[in-house]
Structure formats: C-alpha cells, structure tokens
C-alpha cells in the first residue's frame, strides 16, 4: 500500500468569527496530485497555509508522512514540516541569484552544488543559474520557484494558484511542463485553483471547496459526471436544470420519460450537461432556438421549450442549421443526474 503523504482531520480556521476553513478532512497518497478547486474566498488558500504551517488551525489535526505536525498541544513550525511551497507571486529572493535561491533550502553540510544543478536540470534552467530573479521571464521565475521548493525533497509540495500570473496563451503549455517536472520529481502535490479546466487536466483528485467546506473529493471524471450537489454541478461548468417527478422509478420531465436511477418517489431536479442534449431540426419539434453563439469548434444553442423553460445545448462543428426561430426536437441521454428537491 502506498504511504499517505498528507492527511488532515477536521481542520477548521476562523477569522473574526467567520469560518474560513470549516471541518476539512482530506488525505493524499504519495506521488498523487490533488487540486483544491473553488471560487475565490472559499478557503482554499487558507487550507494550503494551514498545511504549510503559516497559520495555526483553530481545530483539527495534520499529519505529514503519518507524522503529526499539528494537533492539540503540538504545532510544528513551517521550517520543520518538510512541506515545500510555490507562491502565487513566486516569492523569489530578489537579492540572490537563481542558484542561491535554489540552494537556500538545502542543509549546510550537503553537497549543495550538485543538488542545485540536479534540480535546475529538472526544470530545464541549468544555464541561467547565475542570473538574478528580475532578469527572468514569468515562466522562468515560476520554474525557479518550483526548483527551489523541490530541492530539499519535501514530503509535499503546495502550489498556490500556480498559473494565474501567466498569460493565457502561455498557460496551457506551462501547465503540461509543470506537471511533467513534478511527475519526474516524484512529488506529492496539492495545488489551489479557481479554474476547473486546470484542476481537471492536472489533478488525480479534485476537492471542491465552497464557503470553507470541502463538498466533494473525487476523480475529475466522477466529479464532472456526478456532482454531489446542485451547487457543485453549477460551479463545474455550464449546466441545465429541469424539474421532474419520480414515480415508481420512472422520471417524468419536460423531455419525456427517463429511468429513475433508484430515486425515491417525489419531485426532483434533473441535471443535464449541454453537450449531452442532441438536437434535430424538425418543424414538429417541441422547442424553438432562441439564440445561437458560435465559437468555432463548437456552438452553444439556447432553446425555449413550449412550456417556457430554457435549455442550452452545446454541439460540435460549424453546422448552420440551428438559427433562431428554428423548431427542434431534443434527445436526452438516459443517464441523467437527479437531485431530490
């Protein structure tokens, strides 16, 4: 069994009586990547700072490599936790060269030069070790920050909004590079982001946080397909909701009859992703196209059902047959997500 690199139990932190972090328990096996995903102000950065030791929790326990670093009566200072951190603004020491920055966390007696070279090699910056931080591009600064955090071989690396300071055009490429560097280093990683695409594409596990609470911890696929609550579903991308009624394991809604997925009888909310609705242009259809937003490789069609409800459908390709006013038929998947009302 793989070792658990980091575990938190019932972690809570209050600022002036409001819970910034509320009863957060999570654990992450060695070598895995976890994304803390949530809107700004949801407590994800505070969670990171609690794990790093920059803030003391008001309640809870933290274990690094099964060693307690925080619990009642014990608060191991950040410098003794073996938790590396890459800050949003990188926080490179402006008065030190790249090499000195990377060497800063290495013990005095170690073979520092070798380790510095090794780590800089890993991030692909070996030839700029004598430069000062202000002489580097944003992407280079970030890789130095990574190298600095990785050099002492921490049990866990924390990244706070790692890509928010980069141009949108650069972000995708840097994301792949950074993931590769961290994988090559064998690092265990927790990173904070408000961008679901970033979370889904980088992480093995995604933890969704809102208002200080951890709402769901799951693989990216499960999270997207089966959000635990309606608010998580809304947060994770564009989505449709319809009201429906369950009766004897059959769902009845405006799109017809569907399997009830074992839900008890009663009113429900039906969640359907726009890309799961298939449209057919036909005068006998039950809905009308209201607006069409064309994006190139896909398009978003807004429909109005004759009952007045509105739905969105995302279709691939540049077909021009769904123009406002067009009547359409809608086919929905059998596998819809239901939330009791």
């Amino acid at each position: 069994m793989t070792k658990i690199a980091i575990r938190s139990l019932h972690l809570s932190k209050y600022f002036d009586d409001t819970a910034a972090v509320d009863d957060v328990s999570l654990s992450l096996p060695q070598g895995q990547f976890l994304a803390l995903l949530g809107p700004s102000g949801c407590g994800k950065t505070t969670t990171l700072r609690l794990l790093a030791g920059f803030e003391a929790p008001d309640r809870g326990e933290i274990y690094v490599d099964d060693r307690p670093v925080f619990r009642p009566g014990l608060n191991v200072p950040p410098e003794k936790r073996r938790v590396g951190m890459v800050f949003q603004e990188y926080a490179l020491f402006p008065h030190m060269t790249v090499a000195d920055n990377v060497a800063y966390g290495l013990p005095k007696n170690a073979d520092r030069t070798r380790r510095v070279d090794e780590t800089l090699e890993l991030v692909g910056l070996r030839d700029i070790k004598a430069r000062m931080p202000h002489e580097l591009s944003g992407g280079q600064q970030q890789r130095v920050a990574l190298a600095r955090a990785l050099a002492p071989n921490p049990a866990l690396v924390l990244l706070d909004e790692p890509f928010s300071n980069l141009d949108a055009g650069l972000r995708g490429q840097v994301r792949v590079e950074v993931r590769q560097i961290l994988r090559d280093a064998g690092a265990t990683v927790i990173f904070v982001t408000h961008d679901q695409e970033e979370a889904f594409s980088l992480a093995d596990q995604v933890a969704v946080m809102m208002n200080g609470r951890l709402l769901q911890l799951d693989s990216p696929e499960n999270l997207y397909r089966r959000p635990a609550t309606r608010s998580i579903a809304t947060f994770l991308g564009h989505t449709n909701f319809l009201t429906g009624q369950i009766s004897r394991d059959r769902l009845t809604c405006e799109l017809g009859h569907l399997p009830g997925n074992g839900q008890p009888d009663g009113p429900v909310q039906v969640m359907i992703r726009p890309e799961d609705l298939r449209l057919t242009a036909t005068e006998s259809g039950p809905a009308t196209v209201v607006t069409r937003s064309f994006y190139g490789h896909d398009q978003l069609i807004e429909l109005q059902l004759d009952s007045g409800s509105r739905l969105h459908s995302r279709i691939l390709g540049s077909s021009g047959q769904f123009r406002p006013g067009q009547r359409v038929a809608i086919a929905s998947p059998d596998d819809v997500v239901l939330y009791p009302q």
């Binding site: 505070t46 020491f93 800063y104 966390g105 600095r148």
Partner: protein
C-alpha cells in the same frame, strides 16, 4: 522642523502596496517573543518622558496646578500660541495654494525653476531663518544700515508677533505647497473638463470642482504648519514672541520651581493633541475625496495673460524672502566676518560634537526601529496599534517638552546620566524614532511576506529569516532612516540646549547663542552648514515621495 519633516515623511509613506491589504486578514500568527520584548522596551523609552512629566506636574498638587493654569500669563501664552498657529496656518495656506496652482496648472514662465525654488525655504531650519531675518530686518539690521544715509536710524521692531508670523510662514508654507501640489497632480483633468462641458466657466470650475478636491491636501498641509508652529522653539525665542515653548524655557532656566514649566509643557501637549486629533479626523475624511488613480494625462495649462507679471512678482518675492534673503545674509556676514578678521573657524570640536551626537542617535534610533517596524507591518492588530501610538508619540511632543521631561527625570532618578552624552542621545532617539520607524516601515511594506514564508518553508527559523532575507532587503530603508535621523539630529536645538553636557556646543546651539548676543558673523558659518545638511534631508524625503507616486 523635525516634528513636521518626519510627519510629512510618514504621511507620504502611508501608501501601501495592494498585497498588504489583500493579505492583511491572514496575518494572525503570534510574533516571536524576542521581537516583542525589544519593541516593548523601545515603546517604554518613548513613553517615559511624557509619562514622567505627568507625574511631575501632578506632584505639584491640584491647587498649585489650578493656580498656574489660571494665571493671566498662562492664559496669554495659551491664546498667543494658538493665535500664532492659526495665523501662520492661514498665511501658509494662502501662499502655498497660490504657488501650487501657479507652478502646476498655469503657463507661468520658468515653471520648472519655480517648482524647485518655491520648495527651498523648507531647507532653512527655522532658527537659521529667524537669525537671517533679524540680521537683515532687525531695528539695526542690514536694511537699516543701507537706509542710514536717508536718515533712518531705526526700523520698526521685527520682534514679537509680526516677526514670528513672518518667519514661520516663510519657512513652513512649503508643507502646504507640497501637499496641495500632490493633490493637484492627482486630480483627474477629465473632472474639470466634464464640468466645462456641462456649461461652467473656468472660474466656477475652480471653485466648484478643483478646490473641493484639494480640500484634504489643504487641511493636511495647513495642520502640519500649525503643528509645527506650536512646536517651534528656535524662531519664536530668537524673535522674542511669548509662545509656549519660549515660556517653558524661560520658566525652566529662570526659576527654581520647575513645576510651572512642567504644567505649561503639559498644556502645550494638550493643545498639540487637539490639533493632531483634528488632523486625523480630516485625514479620515480625506480618503473619501481621493481622485482616480489613472490620472496620467496632464491638464492643459491655464493662460495667465495679463496676470503673468503680477504672478511672477508674487512668486519671485516669496522665493526671494524665503531663500534669497537668508542666503544673502549668511553670505554677507561670512564675508564681513572674514574681512574684519573675525575667525570664521567653525570650531572643529563643535562640528565633531554635532556629528557625534546625531550619528549615535541615528544608529540607536534605527536599531530600535527595526523590531518596532517588523511588529507593526507583519503583525498588525490591537496591541501593535498601541505600540505604534507610543512610538509615534514623538510627533505630538515638541522637542522642548521631551527635553524638559528628561531633565527632570535625569536630575532626580538618573543623576549619573544627567548632562551626559548618553542622555542627549537618548533624547534624540525618542524624538526621532518616528522618522526611523517610518523609513523602515515603508521599506518593509515593499517586502512581500511571501518571501519570508518561502524562507520558512525552506527550513529556516524566524531569526534566520530576519538575518538572511528581511535584513538584507531592508537595507535601503535603514540607510534612509539613518540619514534622516542623522541630518535632523544635526539641526535639533531645544533638546541640545537643555540636555547637552556643559561646554558641549553644537552647530545649532552655536547659532542660537551667537544670534542672541547679536554676533551675526559667528552664526553665519554654522548656519550655512546646517542649510546644506537640511537640504540633503529634504531632498531625501522628496525623492522618497517621488518613488511612492
């Protein structure tokens, strides 16, 4: 001059980068113990003088205190001081606003030159300024000398209220000028253009839009001047105006019953506090008026037209009186002294005394400032607000008050320190601590706490972080603080007069005694030197301001 220069310094360094505000709520950790201990000691040192003054005054007994407070002389001094502060404040506002507008918003010929020249009076320590005014305009001064052939053997007296008003206005209006100028530059010209496009004449736009937006800058500058006037000792004493500071000094040196001086000093503190409270109230409101940050476009200059000549005459004569005349007088007496065979030898020992005392004070003040600034910036909270208040108490206390308190304290409890260099350095330290803390703090605000956290997560203890990261990055702020305390220490007069060891003369006390005895030639050389020293200090403060804006 010190109170105001340092005050200006902090007002200007209050601007914080965005991240401090964003992350402030997260700074909830407790500070390291060694920082707290040192900071509490420093705060204690800063609070000692005023606290002891209260004890001392209370020791006189309630009926005695009431008796002193109700003396006609006390009441006269109180209203005289308050009146002078008000009059100087008003005069400085009128001159400062006019000059700011002329040099920023009009086509005044030689604007760039005037922009610098009109600030220069700030470089004259008020007692140097007063000395030059007396030497020039005194009843038997230089002007009378030139007018002698016309049969004028005496000019109207410059002493008393008119002289004090003239001197203090001339050498303090730059505070208003600088603050209003910053306000004018921050004002988005599109506001005025919007008003014009809505049908207002330029004149009405000035009264309805421009002036209301400048109100906070005017208040800030004016109150700074008033505060300065209350704390000034050198100019009013030389010009023999009975203000608080002079009355305190006379009471102190003339009588054996020193509780009168203590009560007067406390009353002065009360008056100063009143003004400070008014100022912070105004400043709180001022934020409301802050104009848009993106005002980079320059307003089109107003054409002065037929007002060009009067504007030039006004600007020219203020500059002439505030800088030209003093420099002329100093130069005149320097040369005249030379020709008359009077030794212009500064006295190397005097220079050395000044350098030693203020150099030591600078070192001590900056060392004391570091833990205080770290606590204030990195661990803001209720307790550090108290720390800030006690350390910044120096602002509220005129130099003579601090000096007097330390004289009492030294004579009673620390006789081994009384009239030693250590005592003088301590007084300077308390007095200039706000300046050192201000510079250190401004510099610390530029250092992201993330840097320190990064160092912690890389395995360093708080103390190691302080020496390897914060310390080195703080160096520019520390050198600024060092320079400021050193330079202002060189100019310090009242504390030196009261606390210096016997026969320990400095440049400041030399100018003072020479002017009192009308040995103008003897005052000239040290004056010139102090003007230079002071010019460097002003230059440092102004470049700090530039960097912030």
């Amino acid at each position: 001059m010190t109170v105001t220069a340092s005050k200006l310094n902090t007002i200007l360094t209050r601007i914080e980068p965005a991240w401090t505000r964003r992350h402030r709520h997260r700074q909830s950790n407790t500070p390291p113990l060694f920082l707290v201990i040192v900071a509490v000691l420093v705060a204690g040192a800063a609070v000692l003088p005023p606290a002891y003054l209260v004890v001392r005054a209370a020791g006189a007994g309630a009926s005695k205190v009431a008796d002193i407070l109700l003396r006609p002389r006390t009441i006269e001094v109180f209203f005289g001081s308050a009146g002078l502060a008000l009059a100087v404040g008003l005069a400085a506002v009128i001159i400062g606003v006019t000059l700011a507008w002329l040099t920023v918003r009009t086509d005044l010929p030689g604007r760039r030159f005037w922009a610098v020249a009109t600030v220069l009076p700030l470089t004259l320590p008020s007692y140097v300024g007063a000395f030059t005014l007396i030497a020039a305009l005194g009843p038997r001064g230089m002007v009378q000398d030139w007018l002698e052939p016309l049969g004028i053997d005496r000019l109207p007296s410059i002493y008393g209220f008119p002289g004090a008003l003239l001197a203090l206005t001339l050498f303090t209006y730059p505070y208003v000028l600088l603050s209003v100028r910053a306000g004018l530059r921050g004002l988005d010209p599109s506001l005025e253009e919007a008003a014009r496009s809505l049908g207002r004449s330029p004149r009405r736009v000035f009264w309805e839009i421009t002036l209301p937006h400048l109100r906070p800058s005017i208040y800030a500058g004016g109150l700074l001047v008033a505060l300065y006037t209350l704390s000034d000792f050198g100019a009013v004493s030389l010009l023999r105006f009975n203000s608080f500071t002079r009355a305190i000094y006379l009471q102190y040196s003339a009588s054996f019953d020193r509780s009168v001086a203590a009560v007067l000093a406390l009353l002065l503190v009360v008056l100063t506090m009143l003004i400070l409270t008014a100022e912070s109230y105004m400043r709180g409101k001022a934020r409301y008026y802050r104009s848009s940050a993106g005002a980079h476009r320059r307003a089109r200059p107003v054409k002065l037209g037929r007002w060009t000549i009067p504007a030039l005459i006004f600007t020219g004569s203020i500059t002439l009186l505030g800088v030209g005349l003093p420099l002329l007088v100093i130069g005149f007496w320097l040369i005249r002294g030379l020709l008359a065979g009077e030794t212009i030898n500064l006295g190397w020992d005097i220079l050395l005394n000044s350098v030693t005392a203020s150099g030591l004070a600078a070192g001590v003040a900056v060392l004391a400032a570091i833990p205080v600034a770290v606590l204030l910036v990195r661990f803001p909270g209720f307790r550090s607000r108290w720390l800030e208040r006690s350390v910044y108490l120096g602002y509220a206390l005129p130099g003579i008050v601090i000096a007097l308190a330390l004289v009492f304290f030294g004579a009673n409890y620390a006789t081994f320190l009384y009239q030693t260099l250590a005592m003088l350095v301590f007084a300077y330290m308390v007095r200039f601590l706000p300046q050192a803390v201000g510079s250190t703090r401004a510099s610390l605000l530029q250092i992201s706490p993330r840097l320190e956290e990064a160092a912690r997560s890389l395995g360093r203890t708080p103390r190691q972080v302080l020496t390897s990261i914060t310390g080195p990055l703080l160096r520019p702020g520390l050198s600024t603080g060092l320079a400021l305390v050193f330079l202002t220490g060189m100019k310090e007069l009242p504390a030196t007069l009261l606390l210096a060891p016997t026969e320990f003369y400095t440049l400041a006390t030399r100018i003072w005694s020479a002017t009192e005895e009308a040995f103008f030639a003897r005052a000239a050389a040290p004056s010139l030197l102090l003007v230079l020293v002071s010019a460097i200090a002003v230059w440092i403060i102004l470049t700090q301001e530039e960097k912030k804006v």
